[in-house]
Symmetry: C2
Subunit: 235 residues, 2 copies
């Protein structure tokens, strides 16, 4: 049921086509942080005019994947320990709110859905081939509470945060061996989310996130200079 994600025949608008081509390049780390993007070159290279490209770029700037420096150009966001901490602290707050809001809406169908998402994640990890897919499914697992909450503003905030998490996960995956998320890491998450103790779930979230944060932070313990100090290349 969640496996038939056949890619749509074709995106209608050029702006969305550009988005679906650029987004994976960035969140997967193929365009490395700090990489500068020239509007004209990109437009020529993609065979489109600047108008839809500019709009797509603005979309990416809005979610924070790209940084626009006025009159200098746009570049892929620089990563660093501080950004990571900000993302995680905000993420804890948002996901805690999501669980508060969805707690009483959990019915059998919702719980089955949650378990299915976890199963899909486990399977992908087990077979261990596609790292990007594992990341997507971890994010999809965590999307559960936001979607169930029915809180549109909250879901919107989460959707803005997701691509940034994806980027950090990818960077971590590239740096260290391609261990995706740990298989066991989400068992407790699932148990608490299915259980009856909301405040236990809320405090588990803090631990769960801290663990994820510390794991990802190792990225910066080693090659801090390589990623954080790097300035926007001149050309």
């Amino acid at each position: 049921m969640s496996n038939l994600d056949l890619s749509p025949v074709v995106d209608q608008t050029i702006r969305k086509q550009i988005l679906t081509r650029l987004m994976p390049l960035i969140v997967s780390g193929k365009l490395e942080p700090g990489q500068r993007l020239r509007e004209q070159d990109l437009a020529r290279h993609l065979g489109v005019s600047r108008a839809p490209l500019r709009e797509a770029i603005r979309d990416l700037v809005d979610v924070g994947l790209l940084v626009s420096v006025p009159y200098k150009g746009v570049h892929v966001r620089l990563t660093g320990r501080k950004d990571l901490e900000e993302i995680y602290s905000l993420r804890v707050a948002l996901e805690q709110l999501a669980f508060r809001e969805c707690w009483n809406k959990r019915d059998l169908a919702a719980l089955a859905d949650l378990q299915a998402r976890n199963q899909a994640l486990s399977d992908t990890i087990q077979q261990g081939s596609d790292g990007t897919r594992a990341i997507e499914q971890e994010l999809h697992l965590h999307s559960w509470c936001f979607e169930l909450s029915g809180h549109s503003l909250l879901l919107q905030a989460w959707d803005r945060m997701k691509p940034n998490l994806h980027l950090y996960f990818s960077l971590h995956q590239h740096a260290h061996g391609r261990q995706g998320p740990l298989r066991q890491a989400h068992d407790a998450y699932l148990a608490f989310a299915s259980g009856d103790d909301l405040s236990a779930m809320l405090s588990h979230l803090v631990d769960h996130m801290r663990q994820g944060l510390e794991t990802t932070q190792k990225l910066f313990d080693e090659d801090e200079a390589a990623l954080e100090i790097k300035k926007v290349p001149g050309s």
Copy 2:
């Protein structure tokens, strides 16, 4: 020090000029919720082309003040009890996080700044003339913790929320007499924010917000139909 907000000589880009003209019209309620905006008419009326207008509109859609219905047009966001509850629940979560993050950064200068903001609010309320100004200063008071936190993501989320709060405050102000925020309402807020007990502050926030929420909700207890049911007018 905070009183010399002399409006800049002139906004450079047309897009920002449009923003600074449209934003007040919306958040003040002069463009009533559901009001439809026609791109061409607006462009002609403002004497600009569609390009910068479209970008300005996108900005307003991003913060949630405008709603864009594909192939039907954009209109001022419809207000309702559910939206209000979403805004407030998210606001509590964000402001709690802000206080957690800024708690240890409060020094004498910061506390003086907080008090100054509260004083400015009180003065404006006392003289009772300019309702919009009182709203702006209440928002400015609450911005304190976000700015002090140094948490850029959090500040960004707050900046997106602010205009929506402004709109609801304005609607409430128009509906009932022009009592702005109550003068006493923020005394406790200030005391807790300056105090030593973080968890006391956090729980006060819940109460403070609930009070604000309930006050504003009265807006919908009376003329629910008038505001919520109203559909986008045909012309």
